[in-house]
């Protein structure tokens, strides 16, 4: 087993992995950019090493700097988390060359599944069902236009190198294609350092159902059932659950077997996820392999009792899977909500600033994977995910109620968050019925403004402000001083003001 692991990531996932390593008696090394010196993962790791300036291209995405840091601290292995270098085959290959174990798939498999065009070709040959789309990457716009014509609108633009919604655009008419391509390529370039995009047929009213898989280095592959991740905004998942309401045991077994076959054909090892789109007639299409630990992995852990990070590390160390497919079962129901620093009342604009106060919900069946603390400044440079709230209960109904209660008990003051939006989402009658397609937010929450502030609560807010002023140590008194500033939550940015000193 490894003695020391570097976690080449930040935020909640770095915290999650560091804790798993520490549980296994493995020493940990955190990496951080200048913007993350005070982040939680740096504080809880056994060692921490700076890797450069705030922009990800110059720190978390800089392979040379990460490798140098790994060599300097003498680690046996690197866990890449999700995002950043997690699905970068060049990085995996470099690790192999430097004799550092990359905790993830082998670089050949990573390259194959990461190349969404080539992987489709390979899997199509193995009779895996595929969505109609481009057979290759074309860089000039007129050729892409011709492809779009052939596939038929609506088409989806996707980043060849990435996932997580970055670079994705749906295009309904030819007129929209050029601006969407430009924006998609720019986003792809800045998120993954590669501007290649491709097109595929956009399936309307679909569900996003994915299967978690684990494959060891000895040819054993199991799936750990599905996650339903249909609740998405801007193609970014925000609520995930398992089991899916759309699957029965026959379909589940069929999709699970297909997922295993995808892993076998790709000669994949370690943890990975096979994504499918499920249409309303229960046809499923292979979408892509997410060659990493996923954001939503906890719902699988809670329903199967399998710690995916522990197994990733054990597999990377050469151990055999200790269970077979027939040993695995789903128990109860789990839901995850992603807590983002964004303002749902203002077009979900990212919200940065200082977290003035933070209190996490607790209780039976409540898990909170978190990368924040009271007093921490949310940097502007990275994905605005703050934490993940996950609940488990015996059945879906209880899980929904537990999630609503936990969201109610969740306190974050100082930055805007999606908590209130999520609460209304889980409480929505269509969610309750399990009627979740990828258009759920667009259909039911496009104009969401939240509950109007009741007079009673407004009165309480004023009362609390007056009480605070009366006993406050500062100027207080609801002072008459007039400031020329206009109000905006973006103004209270403290030390993150760019261009200032």
């Amino acid at each position: 087993m490894f003695k020391k692991i570097m976690i080449a990531n930040r935020g909640e996932i770095a915290v999650r992995i560091i804790k798993a390593c520490q549980e296994m008696g493995i020493s940990t090394v955190a990496v951080f950019s200048d913007a993350d010196r005070l982040s939680l993962h740096v504080q809880i790791a056994d060692e921490a090493i700076g890797i450069g300036p705030p922009p990800a291209m110059e720190s978390y995405l800089d392979i040379d700097r990460i490798i140098q840091a790994a060599q300097k601290t003498g680690v046996d292995a690197i866990h890449p988390g999700y995002g950043f270098l997690a699905e970068n085959a060049a990085f995996a290959r470099r690790c192999e060359k430097e004799k550092i174990v990359f905790i993830g798939p082998n670089s050949d498999a990573l390259e194959l599944v990461g190349d969404k065009v080539r992987s489709r070709q390979t899997l199509e040959k193995a009779d895996i069902p595929i969505i109609p789309g481009m057979k290759g990457i074309v860089k000039d716009t007129s050729a892409i236009k011709a492809e779009a014509q052939k596939i038929g609108y609506p088409v989806m633009i996707k980043a060849s190198a990435g996932g997580g919604g970055k670079g994705m655009r749906v295009v309904y008419t030819e007129k929209e294609l050029t601006p969407a391509l430009e924006a998609g390529m720019r986003e792809a370039k800045s998120a993954f350092g590669d501007e290649s995009v491709y097109l595929e047929k956009y399936i309307e009213e679909p569900r996003h159902v994915e299967f978690q898989a684990l494959a060891d280095n000895h040819g054993n592959v199991v799936h750990l059932f599905e996650r339903e991740c249909s609740i998405q905004r801007r193609h970014q998942k925000i609520v995930e659950e398992t089991p899916s309401q759309a699957l029965d045991s026959e379909l589940r077994a069929r999709m699970g077997e297909t997922a295993r076959k995808v892993m076998q054909v790709s000669e994949y090892n370690n943890a990975g996820t096979v994504e499918f789109l499920l249409d309303k007639d229960k046809n499923f299409y292979f979408l892509e392999v997410n060659a990493r630990l996923q954001v939503e992995h906890p719902v699988t852990e809670l329903t199967t009792g399998v710690d995916l990070v522990h197994h990733q590390i054990k597999i990377a160390a050469g151990e055999k899977l200790p269970f077979k497919q027939e040993d695995l079962e789903q128990k109860g129901h789990a839901i995850e909500c992603r807590i983002y620093a964004e303002d749902p009342r203002n077009n979900f604009l990212p919200s940065s600033g200082k977290i003035l106060y933070f209190k996490e919900p607790r209780g039976p069946g409540v898990r909170h994977d978190c990368g924040i603390y009271s007093g921490w400044d949310v940097p502007i440079y990275y994905d605005p995910i703050l934490a993940k709230l996950i609940v488990w209960a015996e059945n879906r109904e209880t899980a929904c109620q537990r999630m609503i209660k936990a969201l109610d008990d969740y306190v974050i003051l100082g930055v805007q968050t999606s908590i209130r939006f999520l609460r209304d989402l889980i409480g929505h009658p269509q969610f309750h019925k399990g009627e979740t397609t990828t258009h759920f937010i667009q259909d039911h929450f496009a104009d969401w403004t939240g509950e109007k502030d009741s007079e009673e609560k407004q009165r309480l807010a004023l009362l609390a402000a007056a009480f605070d002023s009366l006993h406050g140590t500062t100027s207080g008194k609801g002072s008459q001083t007039t400031k020329k500033e206009i109000y905006s939550p973006w103004l209270s940015l403290g030390k993150w003001r760019l261009g200032g000193k």
């Binding site: 990212p350 509950e451 609560k457 007056a466 002023s469 973006w490 103004l491």
Partner: protein, 166 residues
């Protein structure tokens, strides 16, 4: 004691005084009695007519933040003039609008040129923050008077991007 606060950009008045063990407050319509106890620097317990409320509090430079029954409130000190502004915009003395970035980020693209006529909701610029692109749109019909930034600039939320003449 009399207090004035801005809540949801509306000026509100409240008077509060301590009377023996309880606080008496008046919101302009009705007088209430409340038992208010501070539990911790970030938590206040309020009892009004035997109903219990738990309020989480925090304060930054200009604002007081409260969470009441899952809902966040930002209460600020009164300011001189708040009407007529949209977030991320400021009116100049000549009547033009200074369009600002709603958050700190990087200017990816300026979609207009000086002297261009623009329509309401037309995209003026694209600013990237936290890896997402955000379109900055015109709030009114008008003409572009001046462009203050170029693609690639880092901006905060106070620097004007574009000056728009309605």
């Amino acid at each position: 004691m009399e207090f004035e606060f801005l809540l949801n950009d509306v000026l509100q008045k409240i008077s509060l005084k301590k009377k023996e063990d309880v606080y008496v407050f008046y919101d302009g319509e009705k007088t209430y009695e409340a038992d208010i106890q501070r539990i911790s620097p970030h938590q206040i317990s309020v009892l009004i007519d035997d109903v219990s409320y738990r309020i989480y509090t925090a304060k930054d430079k200009d604002n007081r933040h409260f969470l009441i029954d899952g809902q966040q409130f930002v209460v600020k000190e009164p300011t001189e003039q708040v009407e007529g502004f949209r977030m991320g915009e400021e009116k100049t003395s000549e009547g033009t609008l200074l369009v600002k970035a709603p958050m700190p980020g990087k200017v990816i693209k300026i979609c207009v040129s000086e002297k261009d006529a623009v329509r309401k909701n037309q995209t003026l610029a694209i600013v990237e923050a936290m890896k997402m692109e955000n379109e900055i749109k015109a709030s009114v019909d008008g003409t572009i008077k001046e462009i203050h930034v170029t693609a690639g600039d880092l901006v905060d939320s106070e620097k004007p991007l574009i000056e728009l003449e309605p």
